[in-house]
């Protein structure tokens, strides 16, 4: 009797383990018969963390030599994105021009490039690697002010928006 109960219990336990296999689809019981089952990804990783994300990398500081660089001065930034379907990044800076200042005198400058004036839309959910961008910085009036360290802050803002 004990042996019978042990075997029965084992069988029940095996069935309990195997149950998921029996949770979906239909049994095929005819020769040539077919049935379907669905495969589907999650938007979380095996730890359960959302995998959609992005990184916009900007320099902490851009140093411009006095008088500017003959080939131009640039603020180099980049981005990668891996977003959900129908999403893109909208990247913008807070100004098109400004003044570098030492607290007393000013050096005016203008910015040109993507994200300046109008928000830059990445246009895709997923980038192929890292996309590099440049904002040109044009400083004027070098000869009008004492030689000193002048500075200003350019603020980037990144939003995730719908691809229209």
């Amino acid at each position: 009797m004990k042996k019978i109960l042990a075997v029965a219990l084992a069988l029940v336990m095996m069935l309990a383990v195997c149950v998921p296999a029996f949770a979906f689809g239909e049994d095929i019981s005819t020769n040539g018969g077919q049935s379907q089952t669905q495969l589907q990804t999650l938007t979380t990783d095996e730890e359960g963390n959302p995998v959609a994300g992005f990184t916009v990398s900007i320099p902490a500081a851009v140093e411009i030599p006095w008088g500017g660089t003959s080939t131009g001065d640039f603020l180099n930034w980049s981005y990668t994105s891996k977003l959900e379907t129908g999403k893109q990044l909208s990247i913008s800076v807070d100004k098109t021009s400004g003044n570098l200042t030492n607290g007393t005198d000013n050096l005016p400058y203008t910015l040109t490039g993507d994200a300046v004036g109008t928000a830059f839309l990445t246009g895709e959910e997923v980038t192929e690697g890292t996309v590099s961008k440049q904002i040109a910085i044009a400083v004027t009036g070098w000869g009008d002010v004492p030689v000193d360290a002048y500075s200003d802050t350019v603020t980037f803002t990144v939003d995730v928006v719908d691809i229209v």
């Binding site: 992005f54 916009v56 851009v62 030599p65 006095w66 005198d105 004492p146 030689v147 980037f156 939003d159």
Partner: protein, 160 residues
């Protein structure tokens, strides 16, 4: 262990020398980041940008009998804040005598010998120094000849 520490220390020092400013990463929807745009005081060739030029003439001609003759030199400067160029003119041998080829002398003195700019930015500022020769004790007593002397200009950066 020592070798490991030595290598590690070398790496740290190398990184300290060569690493530029790190990037700022924005990874949050609606996130912001700041990039500091700043100037260096060196030009793209690595030379200090602050500087000045004092352009002095090769020769200054004094007409015979002229008791006061003005001469001009020029200053251009772009210096650090609150600095200025100062120029002093004096007789190189501090005897204040012009001499001719025969050793004859003609005494003189300089006025407007010092010029100090008022600020760091000066563009081709004309500065005047004056050579004075006394009529009675100078010109009238000197045989007519070509007398000359060398003047020394010294330029320095001072607080404005």
């Amino acid at each position: 262990m020592k070798k490991i520490l030595a290598v590690a220390l070398s790496l740290v020092m190398l990184l300290a020398v060569s690493v530029p400013a790190f990037a700022v990463d924005i990874a949050k929807d609606g996130g912001t980041g700041e990039a500091l745009v700043k100037t260096s005081t060196q030009n793209e060739d690595g030379e200090e940008a602050a500087g000045f030029t004092v352009s002095i003439p090769a020769e200054n001609i004094i007409p015979w009998d002229s008791t006061e003759t003005d001469f001009t030199y020029h200053i251009t400067s772009q210096l650090a804040p609150a600095k200025a160029v100062s120029v002093e003119v004096k007789d190189a041998d501090e005897v204040n005598q012009m001499t001719d080829v025969n050793g004859l002398t003609l005494p003189y003195w300089i006025t407007n010998a010092t010029a100090t700019m008022t600020g760091p930015i000066v563009t081709d500022q004309a500065c005047i120094f004056t050579i004075n020769v006394d009529s009675t004790d100078g010109w009238d007593k000197a045989p007519v000849s070509e007398y000359s002397d060398t003047l020394l200009f010294t330029a320095s950066i001072v607080d404005a």
